[in-house]
Symmetry: C2
Subunit: 310 residues, 2 copies
Protein backbone atom coordinates (compact mmCIF):
# COMPACT_ATOMS: atom_id res chain seq x y z
CA UNK A 1 0.00 0.00 0.00
CA UNK A 2 1.45 3.36 -1.02
CA UNK A 3 1.54 6.08 1.67
CA UNK A 4 0.41 8.72 -0.83
CA UNK A 5 -3.10 9.81 -1.77
CA UNK A 6 -4.08 11.78 -4.84
CA UNK A 7 -7.22 13.12 -3.11
CA UNK A 8 -6.12 16.13 -1.12
CA UNK A 9 -9.00 15.90 1.37
CA UNK A 10 -7.70 12.44 2.43
CA UNK A 11 -4.21 13.84 3.06
CA UNK A 12 -2.58 14.65 6.39
CA UNK A 13 -2.18 18.25 5.19
CA UNK A 14 -5.99 18.62 5.07
CA UNK A 15 -6.15 17.76 8.78
CA UNK A 16 -3.84 20.48 10.05
CA UNK A 17 -1.47 20.04 12.98
CA UNK A 18 -3.85 20.18 15.94
CA UNK A 19 -6.30 17.63 14.59
CA UNK A 20 -3.46 15.44 13.41
CA UNK A 21 -1.88 15.33 16.87
CA UNK A 22 -5.27 14.57 18.43
CA UNK A 23 -5.74 11.75 15.90
CA UNK A 24 -2.26 10.35 16.62
CA UNK A 25 -3.00 10.21 20.35
CA UNK A 26 -6.26 8.39 19.58
CA UNK A 27 -4.48 5.91 17.29
CA UNK A 28 -1.80 5.24 19.89
CA UNK A 29 -4.44 4.73 22.58
CA UNK A 30 -3.14 2.89 25.63
CA UNK A 31 0.33 2.65 24.08
CA UNK A 32 0.80 6.29 25.13
CA UNK A 33 0.34 7.10 28.83
CA UNK A 34 -1.15 10.44 29.99
CA UNK A 35 1.10 13.55 30.11
CA UNK A 36 3.56 14.42 31.52
CA UNK A 37 4.69 10.75 31.37
CA UNK A 38 3.31 10.55 27.81
CA UNK A 39 2.62 12.94 24.92
CA UNK A 40 1.46 16.49 25.67
CA UNK A 41 4.19 18.45 27.46
CA UNK A 42 7.56 19.87 26.43
CA UNK A 43 9.32 16.68 27.54
CA UNK A 44 8.14 13.31 28.75
CA UNK A 45 8.77 12.87 32.48
CA UNK A 46 9.85 9.27 33.11
CA UNK A 47 9.76 7.14 36.25
CA UNK A 48 13.03 6.89 38.17
CA UNK A 49 15.20 3.83 37.58
CA UNK A 50 18.18 2.42 39.42
CA UNK A 51 19.40 0.42 36.44
CA UNK A 52 21.92 1.59 33.90
CA UNK A 53 20.22 3.35 30.98
CA UNK A 54 20.51 2.34 27.32
CA UNK A 55 19.74 4.66 24.42
CA UNK A 56 19.44 3.88 20.70
CA UNK A 57 17.93 5.44 17.57
CA UNK A 58 16.96 4.02 14.17
CA UNK A 59 14.73 5.31 11.40
CA UNK A 60 12.65 3.68 8.72
CA UNK A 61 12.37 5.39 5.34
CA UNK A 62 9.90 4.64 2.57
CA UNK A 63 11.79 3.23 -0.40
CA UNK A 64 14.67 2.04 1.83
CA UNK A 65 13.44 0.06 4.82
CA UNK A 66 9.95 -0.61 3.51
CA UNK A 67 7.97 -0.06 0.33
CA UNK A 68 4.40 -0.29 -0.95
CA UNK A 69 4.49 -4.11 -0.57
CA UNK A 70 4.77 -3.73 3.22
CA UNK A 71 1.52 -2.82 4.98
CA UNK A 72 1.60 0.39 7.03
CA UNK A 73 0.91 -1.66 10.17
CA UNK A 74 3.95 -3.82 9.48
CA UNK A 75 6.04 -0.70 8.82
CA UNK A 76 5.02 0.72 12.21
CA UNK A 77 5.90 -2.56 13.91
CA UNK A 78 9.22 -2.75 12.11
CA UNK A 79 10.21 0.73 13.28
CA UNK A 80 9.87 -0.29 16.93
CA UNK A 81 11.32 -3.79 16.47
CA UNK A 82 14.50 -2.55 14.75
CA UNK A 83 15.22 -0.52 17.86
CA UNK A 84 14.18 -3.32 20.23
CA UNK A 85 16.77 -5.50 18.51
CA UNK A 86 19.47 -3.01 19.56
CA UNK A 87 18.27 -3.13 23.17
CA UNK A 88 18.22 -6.94 22.98
CA UNK A 89 21.80 -6.88 21.72
CA UNK A 90 22.94 -5.42 25.04
CA UNK A 91 20.75 -7.69 27.14
CA UNK A 92 18.42 -4.86 28.10
CA UNK A 93 14.71 -4.24 28.31
CA UNK A 94 12.94 -1.25 26.75
CA UNK A 95 11.46 1.47 28.96
CA UNK A 96 10.18 4.31 26.73
CA UNK A 97 10.14 5.48 23.13
CA UNK A 98 9.71 8.78 21.29
CA UNK A 99 8.95 9.03 17.58
CA UNK A 100 9.58 11.77 15.04
CA UNK A 101 7.85 11.68 11.64
CA UNK A 102 8.67 13.51 8.43
CA UNK A 103 5.79 13.36 6.01
CA UNK A 104 5.03 14.67 2.58
CA UNK A 105 1.76 16.65 2.66
CA UNK A 106 0.20 14.07 0.30
CA UNK A 107 0.52 11.15 2.74
CA UNK A 108 -2.92 9.68 3.33
CA UNK A 109 -4.58 9.81 6.72
CA UNK A 110 -5.61 6.19 6.33
CA UNK A 111 -2.03 5.07 5.72
CA UNK A 112 -0.82 7.05 8.74
CA UNK A 113 -3.55 5.66 10.98
CA UNK A 114 -2.61 2.09 10.10
CA UNK A 115 1.06 2.91 10.63
CA UNK A 116 0.38 4.25 14.14
CA UNK A 117 -1.93 1.35 14.96
CA UNK A 118 0.84 -1.07 14.00
CA UNK A 119 3.31 0.85 16.13
CA UNK A 120 0.85 0.90 19.04
CA UNK A 121 0.21 -2.84 18.79
CA UNK A 122 3.94 -3.57 18.91
CA UNK A 123 4.41 -1.07 21.75
CA UNK A 124 1.76 -2.83 23.84
CA UNK A 125 3.13 -6.27 22.99
CA UNK A 126 6.62 -5.32 24.14
CA UNK A 127 5.38 -3.05 26.96
CA UNK A 128 7.11 0.08 25.65
CA UNK A 129 5.18 3.30 26.32
CA UNK A 130 5.34 5.83 23.45
CA UNK A 131 5.97 8.96 25.51
CA UNK A 132 6.53 11.68 22.96
CA UNK A 133 6.82 12.65 19.35
CA UNK A 134 6.88 15.18 16.62
CA UNK A 135 5.36 15.39 13.14
CA UNK A 136 6.93 17.63 10.54
CA UNK A 137 6.43 18.20 6.86
CA UNK A 138 9.10 17.44 4.26
CA UNK A 139 8.57 17.10 0.56
CA UNK A 140 8.90 13.71 -1.17
CA UNK A 141 9.59 11.83 2.05
CA UNK A 142 7.90 9.36 4.39
CA UNK A 143 10.28 8.68 7.24
CA UNK A 144 9.98 7.91 10.91
CA UNK A 145 12.75 7.98 13.50
CA UNK A 146 12.28 6.19 16.78
CA UNK A 147 14.50 6.67 19.79
CA UNK A 148 14.31 3.93 22.38
CA UNK A 149 15.37 4.17 25.99
CA UNK A 150 16.03 0.97 27.91
CA UNK A 151 17.79 -0.38 30.94
CA UNK A 152 20.01 -3.29 31.78
CA UNK A 153 18.43 -6.43 33.23
CA UNK A 154 21.45 -8.43 34.31
CA UNK A 155 23.55 -5.88 36.16
CA UNK A 156 25.64 -5.38 33.04
CA UNK A 157 25.26 -4.19 29.46
CA UNK A 158 26.72 -6.72 27.07
CA UNK A 159 28.84 -4.71 24.62
CA UNK A 160 30.64 -5.55 21.39
CA UNK A 161 33.98 -5.47 23.20
CA UNK A 162 35.25 -8.36 25.31
CA UNK A 163 35.73 -11.38 23.04
CA UNK A 164 39.13 -13.15 23.22
CA UNK A 165 41.14 -15.52 21.07
CA UNK A 166 39.69 -19.01 21.34
CA UNK A 167 36.13 -17.85 22.05
CA UNK A 168 33.23 -19.50 20.27
CA UNK A 169 31.23 -17.46 17.75
CA UNK A 170 27.51 -18.18 18.09
CA UNK A 171 24.38 -16.89 16.40
CA UNK A 172 20.63 -17.23 17.02
CA UNK A 173 18.05 -18.16 14.36
CA UNK A 174 18.64 -18.32 10.63
CA UNK A 175 20.38 -15.96 8.25
CA UNK A 176 19.78 -14.62 4.73
CA UNK A 177 16.80 -13.89 2.50
CA UNK A 178 15.32 -11.36 4.91
CA UNK A 179 13.78 -9.08 2.28
CA UNK A 180 12.48 -11.87 0.05
CA UNK A 181 10.91 -13.81 2.94
CA UNK A 182 9.40 -10.83 4.74
CA UNK A 183 11.56 -11.59 7.80
CA UNK A 184 12.75 -7.96 7.70
CA UNK A 185 9.38 -6.85 9.11
CA UNK A 186 8.02 -10.10 10.62
CA UNK A 187 10.99 -10.86 12.89
CA UNK A 188 10.63 -11.07 16.65
CA UNK A 189 13.37 -9.08 18.42
CA UNK A 190 15.47 -11.36 20.63
CA UNK A 191 14.76 -9.55 23.90
CA UNK A 192 14.27 -12.64 26.05
CA UNK A 193 17.30 -14.35 24.57
CA UNK A 194 19.44 -11.21 24.94
CA UNK A 195 18.52 -10.74 28.58
CA UNK A 196 19.22 -14.42 29.31
CA UNK A 197 22.58 -14.26 27.55
CA UNK A 198 23.62 -11.16 29.52
CA UNK A 199 23.15 -13.23 32.70
CA UNK A 200 25.56 -15.94 31.47
CA UNK A 201 29.00 -14.91 32.69
CA UNK A 202 30.74 -16.88 29.90
CA UNK A 203 29.08 -14.77 27.20
CA UNK A 204 31.69 -12.10 26.63
CA UNK A 205 30.42 -9.82 23.87
CA UNK A 206 27.27 -9.47 21.79
CA UNK A 207 25.69 -7.49 18.96
CA UNK A 208 22.70 -7.78 16.68
CA UNK A 209 23.01 -8.59 12.99
CA UNK A 210 21.66 -5.81 10.82
CA UNK A 211 24.08 -5.48 7.89
CA UNK A 212 24.91 -9.18 7.44
CA UNK A 213 27.37 -11.42 9.28
CA UNK A 214 30.25 -10.65 6.90
CA UNK A 215 30.00 -6.95 7.59
CA UNK A 216 28.99 -7.11 11.26
CA UNK A 217 31.35 -9.78 12.65
CA UNK A 218 34.53 -7.63 12.45
CA UNK A 219 33.03 -5.39 15.17
CA UNK A 220 33.08 -8.37 17.58
CA UNK A 221 36.47 -9.73 16.49
CA UNK A 222 39.32 -9.10 18.97
CA UNK A 223 42.47 -7.38 17.68
CA UNK A 224 45.12 -9.84 16.49
CA UNK A 225 42.57 -12.56 15.70
CA UNK A 226 40.37 -13.59 12.83
CA UNK A 227 37.15 -15.58 12.68
CA UNK A 228 37.51 -19.22 11.62
CA UNK A 229 33.97 -20.03 10.51
CA UNK A 230 32.81 -23.45 9.31
CA UNK A 231 30.71 -22.79 6.16
CA UNK A 232 28.50 -25.79 6.99
CA UNK A 233 27.64 -24.39 10.42
CA UNK A 234 26.10 -21.13 9.11
CA UNK A 235 22.31 -21.42 9.59
CA UNK A 236 20.65 -20.48 6.28
CA UNK A 237 17.05 -19.52 5.78
CA UNK A 238 15.28 -21.77 3.26
CA UNK A 239 16.26 -20.63 -0.23
CA UNK A 240 19.40 -18.80 0.94
CA UNK A 241 22.90 -19.81 -0.11
CA UNK A 242 26.00 -18.99 1.91
CA UNK A 243 26.46 -15.64 0.16
CA UNK A 244 22.90 -14.61 1.07
CA UNK A 245 23.31 -15.80 4.67
CA UNK A 246 26.51 -13.79 5.11
CA UNK A 247 25.61 -10.68 3.12
CA UNK A 248 21.88 -10.02 2.85
CA UNK A 249 21.50 -8.19 6.16
CA UNK A 250 18.41 -7.29 8.21
CA UNK A 251 18.67 -10.62 10.09
CA UNK A 252 18.02 -9.05 13.51
CA UNK A 253 19.59 -12.08 15.15
CA UNK A 254 22.06 -12.04 18.05
CA UNK A 255 25.72 -12.71 17.41
CA UNK A 256 27.84 -13.37 20.49
CA UNK A 257 31.16 -14.67 21.75
CA UNK A 258 31.22 -17.51 24.30
CA UNK A 259 34.34 -18.17 26.36
CA UNK A 260 36.63 -20.73 24.74
CA UNK A 261 37.52 -22.02 28.20
CA UNK A 262 33.92 -22.70 29.29
CA UNK A 263 31.78 -25.76 28.63
CA UNK A 264 30.00 -25.01 25.35
CA UNK A 265 28.13 -28.32 25.39
CA UNK A 266 26.54 -27.63 28.77
CA UNK A 267 25.76 -24.08 27.61
CA UNK A 268 23.96 -25.38 24.53
CA UNK A 269 21.90 -27.72 26.70
CA UNK A 270 20.85 -24.85 28.95
CA UNK A 271 19.96 -22.84 25.84
CA UNK A 272 17.77 -25.63 24.42
CA UNK A 273 15.93 -25.84 27.73
CA UNK A 274 15.41 -22.07 27.93
CA UNK A 275 14.61 -21.51 24.23
CA UNK A 276 13.42 -24.76 22.64
CA UNK A 277 12.03 -22.80 19.67
CA UNK A 278 15.14 -20.74 18.89
CA UNK A 279 17.98 -22.31 17.01
CA UNK A 280 21.49 -21.67 18.29
CA UNK A 281 24.49 -22.20 16.00
CA UNK A 282 28.16 -22.13 16.92
CA UNK A 283 29.95 -21.20 13.74
CA UNK A 284 33.58 -21.42 14.79
CA UNK A 285 36.12 -19.57 16.92
CA UNK A 286 38.35 -16.53 16.96
CA UNK A 287 41.87 -17.73 16.09
CA UNK A 288 45.28 -16.12 15.68
CA UNK A 289 45.66 -14.21 12.41
CA UNK A 290 47.86 -16.85 10.80
CA UNK A 291 45.88 -19.82 12.13
CA UNK A 292 42.76 -19.78 9.98
CA UNK A 293 42.18 -23.24 8.46
CA UNK A 294 42.15 -23.41 4.65
CA UNK A 295 38.54 -24.59 4.57
CA UNK A 296 37.20 -21.78 6.80
CA UNK A 297 35.15 -18.96 5.27
CA UNK A 298 37.06 -16.00 3.84
CA UNK A 299 34.73 -13.31 5.17
CA UNK A 300 36.50 -10.67 3.08
CA UNK A 301 34.94 -12.26 -0.01
CA UNK A 302 31.41 -11.56 1.20
CA UNK A 303 30.42 -7.96 1.32
CA UNK A 304 27.63 -6.88 3.60
CA UNK A 305 25.00 -4.31 2.76
CA UNK A 306 26.52 -0.85 2.33
CA UNK A 307 24.36 2.19 3.02
CA UNK A 308 24.73 5.50 1.24
CA UNK A 309 26.03 3.92 -1.96
CA UNK A 310 24.13 4.21 -5.18
CA UNK B 1 24.98 27.69 1.81
CA UNK B 2 23.11 24.92 0.03
CA UNK B 3 23.64 21.37 1.37
CA UNK B 4 23.82 19.96 -2.15
CA UNK B 5 26.82 19.53 -4.42
CA UNK B 6 26.76 18.94 -8.15
CA UNK B 7 30.17 17.23 -8.06
CA UNK B 8 29.51 13.63 -7.15
CA UNK B 9 32.99 13.06 -5.71
CA UNK B 10 32.28 15.76 -3.09
CA UNK B 11 29.05 14.03 -2.04
CA UNK B 12 28.42 11.91 1.04
CA UNK B 13 27.48 9.02 -1.27
CA UNK B 14 31.05 8.96 -2.62
CA UNK B 15 32.36 8.36 0.91
CA UNK B 16 30.36 5.22 1.64
CA UNK B 17 28.97 4.37 5.05
CA UNK B 18 32.09 3.23 6.92
CA UNK B 19 34.18 6.25 6.00
CA UNK B 20 31.24 8.55 6.63
CA UNK B 21 30.77 7.23 10.16
CA UNK B 22 34.50 7.53 10.84
CA UNK B 23 34.37 11.12 9.56
CA UNK B 24 31.36 11.94 11.74
CA UNK B 25 33.16 10.67 14.84
CA UNK B 26 36.14 12.83 13.93
CA UNK B 27 33.93 15.90 13.39
CA UNK B 28 32.16 15.35 16.71
CA UNK B 29 35.49 14.95 18.49
CA UNK B 30 35.25 15.39 22.24
CA UNK B 31 31.49 15.99 21.98
CA UNK B 32 31.13 12.21 21.64
CA UNK B 33 32.60 10.08 24.44
CA UNK B 34 34.17 6.64 23.75
CA UNK B 35 31.84 3.61 23.31
CA UNK B 36 29.87 2.14 24.93
CA UNK B 37 28.95 5.50 26.53
CA UNK B 38 29.26 7.11 23.09
CA UNK B 39 28.93 6.08 19.44
CA UNK B 40 30.05 2.59 18.40
CA UNK B 41 27.86 -0.05 20.01
CA UNK B 42 24.24 -1.17 19.53
CA UNK B 43 23.09 1.24 22.24
CA UNK B 44 24.76 3.95 24.26
CA UNK B 45 25.26 2.88 27.89
CA UNK B 46 24.63 5.89 30.14
CA UNK B 47 25.76 6.66 33.68
CA UNK B 48 23.21 5.96 36.40
CA UNK B 49 21.14 8.86 37.70
CA UNK B 50 18.90 9.29 40.71
CA UNK B 51 16.99 12.19 39.22
CA UNK B 52 13.78 11.97 37.28
CA UNK B 53 14.46 11.54 33.55
CA UNK B 54 13.18 13.87 30.81
CA UNK B 55 12.94 12.90 27.15
CA UNK B 56 12.19 15.05 24.11
CA UNK B 57 12.63 14.90 20.34
CA UNK B 58 12.65 17.56 17.62
CA UNK B 59 13.90 17.58 14.04
CA UNK B 60 15.22 20.23 11.71
CA UNK B 61 14.40 19.96 8.02
CA UNK B 62 16.01 21.87 5.15
CA UNK B 63 13.40 24.19 3.65
CA UNK B 64 11.39 24.26 6.89
CA UNK B 65 13.55 25.02 9.92
CA UNK B 66 16.54 26.33 8.00
CA UNK B 67 17.49 27.17 4.43
CA UNK B 68 20.54 28.08 2.36
CA UNK B 69 20.78 31.44 4.18
CA UNK B 70 21.60 29.64 7.44
CA UNK B 71 25.15 28.31 7.70
CA UNK B 72 25.48 24.56 8.28
CA UNK B 73 27.18 25.29 11.62
CA UNK B 74 24.19 27.36 12.73
CA UNK B 75 21.81 24.62 11.56
CA UNK B 76 23.69 22.06 13.68
CA UNK B 77 23.54 24.38 16.68
CA UNK B 78 19.86 25.05 16.16
CA UNK B 79 19.05 21.35 16.14
CA UNK B 80 20.48 20.91 19.63
CA UNK B 81 19.19 24.22 20.99
CA UNK B 82 15.57 23.55 19.95
CA UNK B 83 15.66 20.45 22.10
CA UNK B 84 17.51 22.19 24.94
CA UNK B 85 14.67 24.71 25.01
CA UNK B 86 12.25 21.84 25.77
CA UNK B 87 14.45 20.63 28.63
CA UNK B 88 14.67 24.23 29.91
CA UNK B 89 10.87 24.45 29.82
CA UNK B 90 10.67 21.76 32.51
CA UNK B 91 13.49 23.17 34.57
CA UNK B 92 15.83 20.32 33.65
CA UNK B 93 19.40 19.91 32.52
CA UNK B 94 20.46 17.84 29.49
CA UNK B 95 22.35 14.57 29.96
CA UNK B 96 22.76 12.87 26.54
CA UNK B 97 21.67 13.18 22.92
CA UNK B 98 21.35 10.87 19.91
CA UNK B 99 21.00 12.11 16.35
CA UNK B 100 19.49 10.53 13.25
CA UNK B 101 20.16 12.02 9.82
CA UNK B 102 18.35 11.52 6.54
CA UNK B 103 20.40 12.75 3.63
CA UNK B 104 20.05 12.89 -0.09
CA UNK B 105 23.08 11.24 -1.73
CA UNK B 106 24.03 14.62 -3.27
CA UNK B 107 24.61 16.34 0.08
CA UNK B 108 28.16 17.68 0.17
CA UNK B 109 30.72 16.38 2.60
CA UNK B 110 31.81 19.91 3.34
CA UNK B 111 28.28 20.96 4.30
CA UNK B 112 27.89 17.92 6.52
CA UNK B 113 31.23 18.48 8.22
CA UNK B 114 30.29 22.07 9.09
CA UNK B 115 26.88 20.90 10.31
CA UNK B 116 28.47 18.36 12.68
CA UNK B 117 31.10 20.85 13.84
CA UNK B 118 28.32 23.27 14.73
CA UNK B 119 26.46 20.54 16.57
CA UNK B 120 29.65 19.52 18.39
CA UNK B 121 30.42 23.10 19.42
CA UNK B 122 26.93 23.51 20.89
CA UNK B 123 27.16 20.08 22.55
CA UNK B 124 30.40 21.08 24.29
CA UNK B 125 29.05 24.49 25.26
CA UNK B 126 26.00 22.95 26.94
CA UNK B 127 27.87 19.84 28.19
CA UNK B 128 25.64 17.38 26.33
CA UNK B 129 27.47 14.26 25.11
CA UNK B 130 26.34 13.03 21.67
CA UNK B 131 26.15 9.32 22.46
CA UNK B 132 24.71 7.74 19.34
CA UNK B 133 23.35 8.23 15.90
CA UNK B 134 22.32 6.93 12.55
CA UNK B 135 22.75 8.16 9.00
CA UNK B 136 20.34 7.00 6.31
CA UNK B 137 19.75 7.91 2.71
CA UNK B 138 16.50 9.46 1.50
CA UNK B 139 15.96 11.24 -1.78
CA UNK B 140 15.33 15.01 -1.89
CA UNK B 141 15.71 15.47 1.86
CA UNK B 142 18.16 16.93 4.35
CA UNK B 143 16.75 16.33 7.81
CA UNK B 144 18.15 15.65 11.24
CA UNK B 145 16.25 14.44 14.28
CA UNK B 146 17.76 14.86 17.71
CA UNK B 147 16.49 13.13 20.81
CA UNK B 148 17.58 14.66 24.08
CA UNK B 149 17.60 13.01 27.46
CA UNK B 150 17.69 15.16 30.55
CA UNK B 151 17.00 15.14 34.25
CA UNK B 152 15.28 17.37 36.75
CA UNK B 153 17.42 19.81 38.76
CA UNK B 154 14.95 21.06 41.36
CA UNK B 155 13.32 17.86 42.60
CA UNK B 156 10.40 18.49 40.29
CA UNK B 157 9.64 18.79 36.59
CA UNK B 158 7.71 21.95 35.89
CA UNK B 159 4.86 20.92 33.58
CA UNK B 160 2.26 22.83 31.58
CA UNK B 161 -0.41 21.87 34.11
CA UNK B 162 -0.86 23.64 37.44
CA UNK B 163 -1.79 27.26 36.74
CA UNK B 164 -4.88 28.64 38.56
CA UNK B 165 -7.28 31.53 38.17
CA UNK B 166 -5.61 34.74 39.32
CA UNK B 167 -2.07 33.58 38.48
CA UNK B 168 0.30 35.96 36.72
CA UNK B 169 1.35 35.17 33.14
CA UNK B 170 5.05 35.92 32.64
CA UNK B 171 7.47 35.57 29.76
CA UNK B 172 11.24 35.87 29.34
CA UNK B 173 13.00 37.87 26.63
CA UNK B 174 11.39 39.43 23.58
CA UNK B 175 8.88 38.08 21.10
CA UNK B 176 8.35 38.22 17.34
CA UNK B 177 10.49 38.55 14.23
CA UNK B 178 12.47 35.39 14.93
CA UNK B 179 13.03 34.41 11.30
CA UNK B 180 13.77 37.91 10.07
CA UNK B 181 16.25 38.67 12.87
CA UNK B 182 18.03 35.31 12.86
CA UNK B 183 16.92 34.72 16.45
CA UNK B 184 15.53 31.33 15.32
CA UNK B 185 19.08 29.97 15.16
CA UNK B 186 21.00 32.47 17.32
CA UNK B 187 18.89 32.13 20.47
CA UNK B 188 20.34 30.91 23.74
CA UNK B 189 18.13 28.23 25.32
CA UNK B 190 16.87 29.35 28.75
CA UNK B 191 18.41 26.47 30.71
CA UNK B 192 19.67 28.55 33.65
CA UNK B 193 16.45 30.50 33.89
CA UNK B 194 14.32 27.34 33.63
CA UNK B 195 16.22 25.57 36.37
CA UNK B 196 16.00 28.64 38.63
CA UNK B 197 12.25 28.97 38.00
CA UNK B 198 11.65 25.30 38.83
CA UNK B 199 13.14 26.00 42.28
CA UNK B 200 10.66 28.85 42.95
CA UNK B 201 7.65 27.21 44.60
CA UNK B 202 5.29 29.98 43.43
CA UNK B 203 5.97 29.19 39.78
CA UNK B 204 3.16 26.77 39.01
CA UNK B 205 3.44 25.83 35.34
CA UNK B 206 5.83 26.48 32.47
CA UNK B 207 6.42 25.84 28.77
CA UNK B 208 8.63 27.15 26.01
CA UNK B 209 7.30 29.32 23.19
CA UNK B 210 7.80 27.65 19.82
CA UNK B 211 4.62 28.34 17.83
CA UNK B 212 3.92 31.87 19.10
CA UNK B 213 2.23 33.08 22.27
CA UNK B 214 -1.26 33.12 20.72
CA UNK B 215 -1.03 29.46 19.85
CA UNK B 216 1.00 28.26 22.83
CA UNK B 217 -0.69 30.04 25.75
CA UNK B 218 -3.92 27.96 25.67
CA UNK B 219 -1.83 24.93 26.76
CA UNK B 220 -1.00 26.76 30.03
CA UNK B 221 -4.49 28.22 30.58
CA UNK B 222 -6.54 26.52 33.35
CA UNK B 223 -10.03 25.26 32.46
CA UNK B 224 -12.75 27.82 33.12
CA UNK B 225 -10.39 30.77 32.73
CA UNK B 226 -9.04 32.95 29.98
CA UNK B 227 -5.90 35.05 29.68
CA UNK B 228 -6.33 38.78 30.26
CA UNK B 229 -3.21 40.19 28.59
CA UNK B 230 -2.22 43.84 28.49
CA UNK B 231 -1.17 44.58 24.88
CA UNK B 232 1.36 47.16 26.14
CA UNK B 233 3.08 44.59 28.34
CA UNK B 234 3.98 42.19 25.50
CA UNK B 235 7.77 42.50 24.94
CA UNK B 236 8.35 42.98 21.22
CA UNK B 237 11.59 42.49 19.35
CA UNK B 238 12.67 45.64 17.49
CA UNK B 239 10.64 45.88 14.29
CA UNK B 240 7.89 43.55 15.50
CA UNK B 241 4.30 44.67 15.98
CA UNK B 242 1.84 42.98 18.34
CA UNK B 243 0.74 40.53 15.66
CA UNK B 244 4.33 39.43 15.03
CA UNK B 245 5.04 39.13 18.76
CA UNK B 246 2.00 36.92 19.29
CA UNK B 247 2.09 34.87 16.09
CA UNK B 248 5.52 34.58 14.51
CA UNK B 249 6.72 31.65 16.58
CA UNK B 250 10.23 30.22 17.18
CA UNK B 251 10.73 32.54 20.15
CA UNK B 252 12.26 29.82 22.37
CA UNK B 253 11.41 31.90 25.42
CA UNK B 254 9.89 30.60 28.67
CA UNK B 255 6.24 31.24 29.43
CA UNK B 256 5.14 30.55 33.01
CA UNK B 257 2.40 31.07 35.56
CA UNK B 258 3.27 32.69 38.90
CA UNK B 259 0.91 32.33 41.86
CA UNK B 260 -1.58 35.19 42.09
CA UNK B 261 -1.35 35.01 45.89
CA UNK B 262 2.42 35.40 46.06
CA UNK B 263 4.47 38.60 46.04
CA UNK B 264 5.18 39.28 42.35
CA UNK B 265 7.16 42.43 43.14
CA UNK B 266 9.62 40.57 45.38
CA UNK B 267 9.83 37.81 42.77
CA UNK B 268 10.74 40.30 40.04
CA UNK B 269 13.45 41.74 42.25
CA UNK B 270 14.93 38.29 42.82
CA UNK B 271 14.78 37.71 39.06
CA UNK B 272 16.65 40.93 38.27
CA UNK B 273 19.36 39.94 40.71
CA UNK B 274 19.69 36.44 39.28
CA UNK B 275 19.37 37.40 35.59
CA UNK B 276 20.21 41.07 35.09
CA UNK B 277 20.58 40.49 31.32
CA UNK B 278 17.26 38.71 30.77
CA UNK B 279 14.09 40.72 30.54
CA UNK B 280 11.06 39.42 32.42
CA UNK B 281 7.57 40.61 31.49
CA UNK B 282 4.33 39.96 33.33
CA UNK B 283 1.63 40.24 30.70
CA UNK B 284 -1.52 39.82 32.76
CA UNK B 285 -3.46 37.15 34.65
CA UNK B 286 -5.74 34.20 34.15
CA UNK B 287 -9.29 35.44 34.87
CA UNK B 288 -12.77 33.92 34.87
CA UNK B 289 -14.17 33.39 31.36
CA UNK B 290 -16.57 36.32 31.61
CA UNK B 291 -14.12 38.67 33.34
CA UNK B 292 -11.79 39.63 30.53
CA UNK B 293 -11.46 43.46 30.37
CA UNK B 294 -12.50 45.05 27.08
CA UNK B 295 -9.01 46.39 26.42
CA UNK B 296 -7.26 43.03 26.93
CA UNK B 297 -5.90 41.12 23.93
CA UNK B 298 -8.32 38.84 22.08
CA UNK B 299 -5.87 35.99 21.53
CA UNK B 300 -8.32 34.25 19.21
CA UNK B 301 -7.64 36.98 16.64
CA UNK B 302 -3.95 36.10 16.43
CA UNK B 303 -3.17 32.78 14.88
CA UNK B 304 0.10 31.08 15.59
CA UNK B 305 2.20 29.16 13.13
CA UNK B 306 0.40 26.05 11.87
CA UNK B 307 2.48 23.09 10.69
CA UNK B 308 1.41 20.68 7.99
CA UNK B 309 -0.65 23.25 6.10
CA UNK B 310 0.23 24.32 2.63
Amino acid sequence: MTPFTSRSRDSVAALGEEKLIAAIRRWLGLASPPAPYGIGDDCAVLPRSRARQLLTVDPIVFGRHFDARVSPRAAGEKLLKRNLSDIAAMGGRPTAAVISLLLDARVSRHWLEQFYRGLAAAARRYAVPIVGGDVGQAEHVVAATLTLLGETTAGRALTRTGARRGDWICVTGQLGGSLRSGHHHRFVPRLREGSWLAKQRDVRAMMDLSDGLAKDLPALTPTGTTAALDPNAVPRRRGSDLRAALGDGEDYELLFAFSGRADIKAFRQRWRKAFPQTRLSCLGRFVALNARPADAIHLEDYRGYEHLRR
